[in-house]
Amino acid sequence: MFKRIMAPVDLAHLDKLERALNVVADEAKRHGASVAYVSVTAATPGPLGHNPEEFRARLEEFAAEQARKHDIKADAHMIVSHDPTTDIDDALMQAVSDTKADLVVMASHKPGLAEYFWPSNGGKISAHSSASVFVVRDN
């Protein structure tokens, strides 16, 4: 049913992604789909790399590790943004078409009061993307 799965990941908070990553792997195996692990970074140095090159190396390593662990086909897709905090939704929307994904699987925290002011990324993507979206809530 699905050929290409896009999985947005925040490498700084992998502990919160475990459930979503398992869902990604299960869906990939069930449909024989390849996975694009997508992550957004700024060009400025951050905790995950001094520059986008280092960040990409990390993301590639992560994708390779997921592929090995779950026996799936996976690649990495990095997006460089001027202002990740505010641009992340648009960047992910763009990534859906760049990766030609037909399914997006992403983790999202339980909605709360803050969602009235700043909708979660999952909410925004599912509202605007043409791909199917699977939002995995944390426990």
């Binding site: 700024a42 060009a43 400025t44 009061l113």
Partner: protein, 548 residues
């Protein structure tokens, strides 16, 4: 394998650059969590101490307004008149240093690595440089300064063309007109932009080439080494936050008073604290919208709109005041600036102390106290430029634009004063009585369509404040998040709102003047800091191998 998409025009980064190896991990001192429904990710202790110190100083100014006013009212002029030579010599050094960088072989080193491509095209980049760097000052001083220097401050001893009885002394006119313009251009030309360029280049280099976090302390790595991650660095960052927030808040408070003066003049809206609070609230609300939309969707867009409106006003004044006359002001201003720059920047054996200490040294302290904020913002948006291109674009081009601006606004105003002194509103507001906020409106009154252009001018004053406020909030947020630019949104909302709140509290309680004097006083220690930065830049560039 990987593929990479360039979001919003950012191409593949990188190429060779020399990353500094340090054990420090960006974000290692940060505290993450949630406050009610809102997430946060802040540097410990920079965020907390900066916030608390700012609150403490606001309380001090409110609780002891007279003492605070007297102390800082004494401190600022005391510093600028005692250390005038130091400010002048340091600023000269920054200009020479920048000019040297243009011709040095290091000029070809690229910010962000040998193959980095610019993040922003020229129009957006210039708009952001300008809106953050000078913005409101051009509106406020564009008429005031040329007229004031021509008629009153007598820079380099050039005598005033206005006699005691208000008549014109023809013999003095030509020299005074040139001197007034040149003395103004000196304050808005190479020197201030060299100050910004030094800070911006240091930060851009240590962030994009050396891989250190985007925060003020990083530029001190060559000097302080690993100590920069401890209390030395905390103090540097806290000072920068402090100067930025108070600088923004106090000029926001004064700006509201200026805009109010304009509104009273045009629409007869009463000039009182309530109206000014409404103005601050509106400016803060628009700035808030801008930071919520982010760097590209908010700050850059607003800066561009700002530049377009400012350019329209510039063209209008240019044509309405007579293009021929204004062109000759431009040529005269530029040539006199080129001729007088050496004597104006010489601090020794000067007799025009009122001008040199009251204006020049004051300006240098002012630009320097703003430089952490403006420098850091310029650094953030300058990735992908070569050092030579960076310095030319941050030093030479903005200086020329300022020359043009001063020639147009100052030239039009001087023309009005000299051609019909008795009827000139500019003469009434600047020379006869000293009423700075009204000077721009007085000049526009002497041109056609004053009712329309005055409204545009008020809008422009307000938008200029918004563009300072939003970029300032981003800078403070980044510093207090330990150099992370992806901290949760509520944090930038906090700083933007806090800035407006501080402005309102100081407006109601008094203390704007005292705290602004305090901010400008920070110019003295920061001057020493900037001199050290030049050395850090040299060390940084020397370590950079440049295969291209």
């Amino acid at each position: 394998m990987s593929d990479e998409s360039a979001n919003q025009g950012i191409p593949d980064p990188e190429g060779h650059s020399e990353v500094i190896e340090t054990d420090y991990e960006i974000g290692q001192d940060n505290v993450e969590g949630t406050f009610g429904p809102f997430g946060f990710d802040v540097h410990n202790p920079v965020f907390l101490i900066s916030g608390l110190t700012i609150v403490a100083f606001v309380f001090y100014a409110l609780a002891l307004p007279e003492q605070a006013g007297a102390f800082f009212g004494w401190l600022r002029p005391a510093l600028t008149s005692t250390f005038d030579w130091f400010f002048l010599l340091a600023a000269n050094f920054f200009v020479l240093f920048c000019l040297f960088l243009i011709v040095s072989p290091w000029g070809s080193i690229k910010i962000g690595g040998a193959e980095a491509v610019p993040d922003y095209g020229y129009p957006g980049w210039f708009a952001m440089l300008f809106a953050a760097g000078m913005g409101i000052g051009l509106m406020f001083f564009g008429v005031l300064e040329p007229v004031y220097h021509m008629a009153i401050s007598e820079p380099l001893g050039v005598p005033s063309p206005i006699a005691e009885d208000g008549s014109i002394i023809e013999a003095n006119v030509d020299a005074a007109r040139r001197a007034g313009l040149a003395a103004t251009i000196y304050h808005w030309g190479l020197h201030p932009w060299a100050i910004y360029a030094v800070v911006a280049l240091a930060l851009a280099l240590f962030t994009y080439n050396k891989g250190l976090p985007l925060t003020i302390r990083s530029a001190f790595y060559p000097i302080l080494g690993e100590r920069v991650w401890g209390w030395w660095g905390h103090v540097i960052d806290i000072l920068a936050v402090f100067a930025t927030l108070f600088g923004l808040a106090t000029s926001l408070g004064f700006g509201a008073q200026q805009a109010n003066a304009g509104l009273e003049h045009v629409f007869g809206i009463p000039n009182n604290v309530t109206v000014q609070i409404v103005l601050i609230t509106v400016i803060t609300a628009v700035a808030l919208g801008s930071v919520l939309r982010g760097l590209d969707g908010g700050v850059k867009l607003l800066s561009e709109i700002n530049m377009i409106v400012a350019a329209l006003l510039l063209f209008f004044v240019f044509f309405a005041a007579g293009p021929g006359g204004i062109m000759s002001y431009f040529v005269e201003g530029l040539s006199t600036y080129a001729r007088d720059i050496f004597s104006l920047s010489n601090p020794i054996a000067r007799e025009d102390l009122g001008y040199m200490q009251g204006w020049t040294a004051f300006y240098w302290a002012w630009w320097i106290s703003w430089s952490p904020f403006v420098g850091m913002f310029i650094a953030r948006v300058s990735r992908g430029r070569s050092v030579r291109e960076f310095v030319v674009c941050v030093l030479i081009i903005p200086s020329l634009v300022c020359v043009l601006w001063m020639a147009v606004f100052g030239g039009a105003a001087i023309e009005q004063v000299l051609s019909d002194p008795a009827a000139s509103a500019v003469k009434a507001q600047v020379i006869d009585s000293y009423n700075p906020p009204m000077s721009l409106f007085a000049m526009l009154e002497g041109l056609p369509l004053a009712s329309i252009t005055s409204v545009i001018a008020i809008v422009l004053v307000i938008v200029f404040f918004v563009t300072s406020s939003d970029s300032g909030s981003l800078v403070i947020d980044t510093i207090t998040a330990g150099g992370k630019i992806d901290a949760p949104v509520p944090q930038r909302v906090f700083w933007c709102t806090f800035e407006g709140a501080v402005a309102i509290v100081l407006l109601i309680g008094g203390g704007l003047g005292a705290l602004q004097a305090m901010v400008i006083s920070t110019g003295l220690p920061f001057t020493i800091v900037l001199l050290l930065l030049c050395w850090a830049i040299v060390k940084g560039l020397m370590a950079e191998k440049n295969p291209g």
